[in-house]
Symmetry: C2
């Protein structure tokens, strides 16, 4: 029997808080509530409540990180390769929590949720949210679960931003921090790609200033945004290896504007598929939260942001990730060291680009399981 | 007085050929004509007719490579920094020719041109064109100008593809070939970016299957395509240096979907500006021609494609160009050497990315002027 198992059938749970008049103050200055977070847990919280790991998802992720809803092989969680008995996040040892971010569309309160004051979806009346807001809402959930201190916070891409913000905002509550393929502030290039994606959504006539719920959705705009994103998650080399210049129809070029190359049909499929599972307004809000993320503010330096941090860090980047290149992870490691924060850094050699954190990797699993067990990687 | 001067006031000329029944056979198998090429020339053709240089433009370029139409400082040609008395392409020595590609929208026959059979614009009835078709039409123009052998063919990006195709298709007619920031076949990643741009255009309801002439044009779709392209022409580092995370409104984040960052407003400006000067259908056709470009076909190897080449090569790439990375230029150089073709290769160290070939560069100018004068760069 394989010692790496699935956590099995799981159910998404919901926790609601910040109901008026106890709304939460968001970073944009608006008070907002009630807030529901969808979340899942895997494994058992130990009696001492010191084995909890918070897993944080990326732009298009959700609370469903592991297991399946109905039957094995379908609806597997987005990090199922990493979470389960015998896996990197070993659920026979650890209690793993994953929640959908505020602003999302998978059970947490977001622009598609009903505004109790109006009885209609918030749409663009939803407040702008930031990574700090995501973390602040997660903190309430962690309180609710009775967890004083997290053994670890971990996530890739935007999940890694939340890891950094957890360690900075709540230094007493995080023992180990594992930011993967991430950055302490989004680059101009990444902001630019996000902005073009947003423009594509907002240019779709079905978007109607965000008020499309119950009517035709901005499918084409969202699909284009996803296609742009998808290219940035891969590397030139991985696309070359996977597709190269392979044709859909092997008899030759079609000499028309239908699909000539396999890479084109792959992208179209990815775009179309995404539209069926994600809300365009959530894409706008969450991509904007990524743009806003800048740990160097307001102090001006990353060193200062890390001054109060108590967690020990394992920082991981991927050699072919050009969206969140390794130099951005090195900046985090450098700031940790200047602030006297213990930090281990590993750049994993891979062709898979930014998406490598979602893929099967013995090296990634070994790094993480050793770090969780011993606070070291060797 | 500065010894680098402008070529002064210039005029675009037009040459029409391949009128029925003498249509040109295009690579897609369709016979097509009449074909008009818009072109400009700078300097004087020598009595021996051996000082002619053909300059080939990139996706969004045109025949207006140097000088100005009305008054200095306005409407300068796209490579004015390189073409003129005392410049890299010294018009006191050389006769420089630049023509707008077939499929373009700047005076050459393209999808926006009137189909003489119907009296209406071709729109999507325009045939699919390839880089080989661009080169074949240029060959007719060069014949018309009475030039037996070109001293040099030169161009960056898609212009470089045409350079390669000239040297391969008409080996007797090219003495020096200068492909810059280009490739012998478009990569999967570059095809993917082109495809997303085309999807953006085709998703714009104003596109109406290409039949928008005389009505509202697909502004937003074309602007999005241009924005995507523009990001790929710059480098992460140059965007960081130029924009970083600088805000439009320095008092802080706007917390809405208007423009927060300068890089966003820059991109929007670039997109909007482009729409006023370029036809969306030309964008579709020309980007598709780039996708189709693959010198390794039909033989299967680049070495074989270069077997008949007689030109001497100066291959130039830019260290931060991630759209046409240096390894792609090295493949060209390697194929030249295997085929016994003389080739000099230089990678210019720069942060400016793919667009570096359009920017002022003493190193680029010196390399080219030495190569033209002596067939060497030292």
């Amino acid at each position: 029997m394989d010692d790496k198992q699935s956590v099995g059938i799981v159910q998404t749970q919901h926790f609601t808080f910040a109901a008026p008049p106890h709304e939460m103050l968001l970073e944009c200055g608006r008070k907002f509530g009630p807030i529901t977070l969808a979340y899942e847990t895997y494994g058992e919280l130990s009696p001492a409540r010191e084995n909890a790991i918070l897993v944080l998802h990326a732009l298009s992720g959700d609370a469903h990180a592991a297991g399946y809803y109905h039957a094995p092989g379908r609806d597997a969680g987005w990090w199922d390769i990493m979470i389960g008995p015998g896996k990197a996040f070993d659920t026979s040892k650890y209690f793993v929590v994953c929640s959908n971010v505020i602003g999302g569309c998978k059970g947490s309160t977001g622009p598609g949720s009903i505004d109790p004051e109006t009885g209609c979806p918030y749409a663009l009346n939803f407040p702008m949210i930031t990574v700090r807001d995501m973390v602040n809402t997660q903190r309430v959930l962690i309180d609710h679960l009775g967890i004083e201190q997290l053994l670890a916070v971990v996530g890739g891409s935007m999940g890694g931003m939340q890891v950094l913000d957890w360690a900075v905002s709540f230094p007493e509550r995080v023992r180990l921090a594992i930011p993967i393929a991430t950055t302490s502030k989004l680059s101009a290039q990444a902001i630019a790609f996000n902005e073009v994606g947003r423009q594509a959504i907002q240019s779709d006539p079905n978007w109607r200033a965000g008020s499309y719920y119950g009517e035709s959705i901005p499918r084409r705009g969202l699909a284009i945004a996803r296609m742009i994103g998808h290219i940035t998650y891969l590397s030139d080399r991985s696309m070359h290896r996977k597709f190269g210049r392979k044709l859909q129809d092997k008899t030759g070029y079609g000499y028309d504007f239908s699909t000539d190359f396999q890479v084109e049909s792959y992208l179209r499929y990815k775009g179309d598929h995404f539209v069926d599972r994600f809300d365009a307004n959530s894409y706008l809000y969450i991509s904007k939260a990524m743009d806003y993320f800048d740990l160097t503010q307001p102090s001006g330096t990353l060193d200062e942001a890390f001054a109060q941090v108590k967690a020990k860090f394992l920082v991981i980047s991927f050699s072919s990730d050009w969206l969140f290149p390794s130099y951005q992870s090195k900046e985090i490691v450098s700031a940790c060291r200047h602030a006297g924060v213990e930090a281990i850094y590993t750049e994993i050699q891979t062709d898979y680009g930014h998406d490598a954190f979602l893929l099967e990797s013995e090296q990634l699993s070994a790094l993480i399981s050793n770090f969780l067990a011993h606070g070291m990687i060797g």
